[in-house]
Symmetry: C2
Subunit: 350 residues, 2 copies
């Protein structure tokens, strides 16, 4: 039996394997380099990109490394995208998301998109083929929102959401960037639970606090690192029931303060991108409770023996960025919760 | 109502905070120095230690630093224990475990131990107050097994397991070392599930396969990296229903083979200490299924965006080293499953 050689179009993988250049055979996210060619396979979509939203950890790493110098930061981001065919910070391993306009839809794409629609990608930039054509000239090198021109490719198993018309784009983007957190929090929190949200004044934190409340939490404890953040929460009264100012990296101090505030928690949600928060989160959680780690700074080798060392029978979940319907859920939370919207509007420059 | 001042004994912390000398206020594991005084608080237990089992990384570091000189290595270990009040290698940060005989049990200890029982500690030496009285004279300064005389202190929230009389000590210790995996697997797998065990011929893997079966799994797929490991599984027929030889770091290859073997799985258990297994585990798991990561080599920044990038709605659990009753559960599995016992006996030197 002879098999005709497959054409590139026929072997286009739903996962984008055909775009992986180096090393071959790995998933796009694990690849060092992707092929961002604008020619699409029948199951792909090409998007004209107008904005990147850098992941917070990546953004901070770039700022620290280049001491905030905008030209150096801009050059570094451009260099990453040019070299890798995607925006994946080699140090943090993280990416972000993008917005753009659907330019061409392959006849076999299952994403249901139409040319002309304004969308945001909900898969990470770490696995999205990307090519920039304007040298990021319009970016100030400071904001994590990067205006740009170029194109990106969506695979058959990508996730994209059409941008809502009733919300400013930067606001919708900021919500979608962290929409996995409230969706999973809402799944895990049960009626009558005590929930502790570490980083409650932040984006994923405030949405998770609202999600915990919506799922029936009886008591929501908001943990913040500073008086400034506490003031933010006080100004948006009602999002949490009790505010704790604590260093989440100090397990004993955190757990004591959470307990004084009505804990330990049935569900603790870690929404801060600092290392060393595992022990404190575990210790702030009841035996039989659950910790959800949304921080990319979480370490397995700290979390697992940490729990064992504390004889802590807690379920520890890796925050999955994908829960079906997560974008719509998070946008609805923001619409329905003035405190969340207020906090977002303080953090997101229009 | 007047409250009498608490005595030191009354405020003995379940986590051992009262034994922390330097710096004050941190958890025992993070402390530089613990108080190993033999006088116990009402919630503590004193153990007469007969053997330390040094962690492999610590053992190697000591050997390399002192070029294998037994007297220098012995002096170094003694110096660490004397200075720090615990056996925590200051370079590697790691410890090990110990065996000994229960000497005195405080009236408020919740551990359920009785004087005279031979036990192993399942919390790390890095957080266990320890004093050595024989100068380690019986140790050859070479083996990671250190015969010794002295005492150790267990806190209320320590974990210790009584050594079974029907099993050789090295075998029992090997089981206890990985006992968190089968206990959590058993909790997660439901009747009728398809389970995939990555690293099924290993210690935690074979126990997890038996645990999945015991929890009612309808079909157990054992993934191994080599033909040699596959032969091991075939020689212990019945532990798994189907054997897959695959590189777990190759997501696409792994998922394809798991599917051919009856997958994707409802529950995938990762029991191999290799980096880069996140994508394959996620891709081998059904939408709505669960991945349990027991590997310390797992990376949050691979697992979380990985799932999102694959549009995979899977629950991802960090394997907790502690589930109540885990040691007894694992020992019972080994006793009841000749295949598991056979695999362990091939791997554990008597």
């Amino acid at each position: 039996m002879t098999t005709p050689l497959p054409t590139p179009a026929q072997v286009a993988s739903p996962l984008g394997l055909h775009r992986v250049l180096d090393p071959p055979g790995v998933l796009p996210q694990a690849a060092w380099r992707l092929d961002p060619s604008p020619v699409i396979a029948p199951n792909e979509v090409r998007v004209r990109v107008d904005r990147l939203n850098l992941d917070a950890a990546s953004h901070r790493q770039l700022h620290e490394t280049y001491a905030g110098d905008p030209d150096k930061i801009r050059a570094a981001v451009l260099e990453i995208i040019t070299t890798r065919g995607k925006m994946q910070n080699p140090v943090t391993g993280s990416g972000g998301m993008l917005t753009g306009t659907v330019e061409e839809v392959g006849p076999d794409s299952p994403l249901g998109l139409k040319p002309g629609q304004r969308i945001a990608t909900l898969v990470s930039l770490t696995l999205t083929p990307l090519q920039i054509t304007d040298g990021l000239a319009a970016w100030d090198g400071q904001s994590e929102q990067v205006p740009c021109d170029g194109h990106a490719i969506l695979f058959a198993r990508s996730i994209a959401a059409v941008l809502p018309e009733d919300l400013p784009v930067p606001l919708a983007l900021a919500v979608m960037d962290v929409c996995g957190a409230p969706a999973l929090t809402s799944r895990v929190v049960k009626k009558g639970n005590i929930a502790a949200i570490i980083g409650a004044a932040g984006k994923s934190g405030s949405l998770s606090a609202a999600a915990a409340r919506g799922a029936g939490a009886f008591w929501v404890i908001g943990v913040v690192p500073t008086e400034t953040e506490a003031t933010l929460l006080r100004e948006h009264k009602g999002l949490v029931d009790e505010i704790v100012i604590a260093d989440a990296r100090d397990p004993v101090g955190l757990a004591e303060k959470v307990e004084q505030a009505g804990g330990p928690a049935d569900v603790t949600v870690v929404c801060v991108d600092a290392t060393g928060c595992e022990g404190g989160a575990i210790l702030s959680t009841k035996q039989g409770g659950t910790v959800i780690f949304f921080s990319m700074a979480t370490s397995f080798s700290a979390a697992a023996p940490g729990a064992a060392g504390l004889a802590a029978d807690v379920t520890m979940l890796v925050g999955n960025g994908y829960v079906p319907g997560h974008a719509e859920f998070a946008l609805d939370l923001l619409r329905a919760t003035p405190q969340v919207r207020g906090l977002f509007e303080k953090r997101v420059r229009p």
